[in-house]
């Protein structure tokens, strides 16, 4: 197997080597086939690992011990206390088992925004480098590059989005809100996550009026079928449940 395949997916190649590798994939059919085989194999193994672990976990679930304890007659008031305790436990379970909207937004960031696709901006090299810095948590460097991109072209929506995301990761919520608001106002984009991300920034800031501001934005995302709609629906549902 070509060493560079794994290094590429582990993001261990330097930018020039990376570009060379990507270019080679288009002209070297053996390399492309090896890479396709590598990914397919990893996928098939993952499927089989899942099937095995699932079976294992199912068996583990069956191992609930059936304890044999002597039956003892209890006083009637024991039952009343037990009923109250059970009701209290059920209430606690119901109110704590579902995460609240703030927790959902934390998980969203963790799952979707800690590593961005390097292809987010297409061919623009400096945007990709900025995203690379973002993925390595070098936010200051990513921010400098993002600002330069925006200075060169104030219509660069991807740069605006990246600056908003950097602000979110740096917990600079007013700035994130401002960037995403500006993005959300754009009507010339094919997909626009601006309003959804603005809601996310409000939920993260979590000040008294923020939840309502987020709710309004999420409602717009749902009614106008904007980017982020499935998560917006879940978050609205979580807001209504609490």
């Amino acid at each position: 197997m070509n060493d560079r395949i794994e290094q590429y997916f582990n993001e261990e190649l330097q930018p020039p080597e990376r570009e060379q590798f990507e270019l080679e994939l288009l002209h070297n059919s053996q390399l492309a086939e090896e890479l396709a085989f590598y990914l397919q194999t990893k996928q098939v193994i993952r499927e089989q690992v899942l099937a095995e672990r699932h079976a294992e976990w199912q068996k583990m679930d069956l191992k609930v011990p059936h304890s044999v304890a002597p039956v003892r007659q209890l006083q009637p008031w024991y039952y009343a206390v037990a009923a109250v305790v059970l009701l209290a436990m059920a209430w606690i379970w119901l109110s704590l088992s579902d995460p609240n909207v703030r927790e959902l937004s934390d998980a969203y960031i963790e799952e979707n925004l800690t590593t961005l696709s390097v292809q987010m901006g297409g061919e623009a090299d400096s945007l990709q480098s900025a995203i690379q810095y973002y993925n390595e948590s070098q936010f200051a460097a990513a921010q400098t590059m993002g600002r330069e991109l925006l200075q060169r072209n104030s219509n660069n929506a991807e740069a605006l989005k990246l600056l908003g995301l950097i602000a979110i990761r740096q917990q600079n919520y007013p700035q994130a809100i401002a960037h995403f608001h500006q993005l959300g106002e754009r009507r010339d984009l094919y997909t626009n996550p601006g309003k959804f991300y603005e809601a996310l920034a409000y939920l993260q800031r979590n000040q008294p009026p923020d939840k309502e501001a987020a709710r309004k934005l999420l409602q717009v995302v749902v009614t106008e079928n904007l980017e982020g709609k499935p998560d917006a629906e879940k978050w609205l549902e979580a807001m209504d449940e609490k």
Binding site: E33, F37, Y38, L39, V44, I45, H54, E110, E111
Partner: protein, 199 residues
């Protein structure tokens, strides 16, 4: 799971899985057992069958384990919420697949993440090549691999690092484990192509 068994805190589970070694499996099982009630939530909210929900939950737990070992989970959110989010997405995916019969074109998240690293043109070349591959033959060839190769590839598939694989499977060093793993992949590829040429 025995309700009287002491269940570790999430922080211990995270550390146990990240530290690896012989204890990792036990922490993974704790993670699975601790939040199995999510399956009931899935049944209620997504109206999936119990088997589907249970598989989606196992898939979500495996994904969380992968994110923990790869460092993708940074601890910004609670482990429970993170698992809930991933499980919920898996349920929605499953629901979509069941209703739109798109199972054949479904692309798992891990594969999508890997493909997204490639530029558009290269991605479509690779996707075309992948579509041409015979998955059944690949599965068959995997099952024909020797036990040692199978074990090393499985450990790799579970996200174990070469250092851990070396300790677990008695290789002299991580470098030796890495070389052996790659040889096993080459062997599998050779077997696969032999099978294809015969067809």
């Amino acid at each position: 799971m025995n309700i009287f068994t002491k269940v570790p805190q999430d922080s211990s589970i995270i550390e146990g899985i990240r530290t690896g070694g012989p204890q990792r499996r036990s922490y993974e099982n704790h993670l699975y057992g601790k939040y199995t009630y999510l399956i009931r939530d899935g049944l209620r909210k997504h109206r999936l069958s119990e088997d589907d929900c249970s598989m989606a939950y196992s898939d979500a737990v495996l994904t969380v384990i992968e994110h923990l070992t790869s460092g993708r989970f940074e601890g910004r959110s609670e482990l429970k919420t993170y698992l809930h989010q991933i499980f919920s997405n898996k349920c929605v995916d499953l629901l979509r697949r069941n209703t739109t019969k798109k199972a054949q074109v479904h692309q798992p998240e891990q594969l999508t993440d890997a493909l997204n690293l490639l530029p558009d043109e290269a991605r479509s070349v690779i996707q075309q090549l992948m579509q041409q591959q015979d998955m059944d033959l690949l599965r068959h060839r995997l099952s024909e691999l020797g036990d040692k190769c199978r074990r090393i590839l499985w450990a790799w598939g579970e996200g174990y690092k070469d250092e851990e694989i070396a300790v677990q499977l008695d290789y002299q060093s991580a470098a030796v484990a890495k070389t052996s793993r790659r040889r096993c992949l080459d062997k599998l590829r050779e077997l696969y192509h032999t099978g294809r040429n015969k067809q």
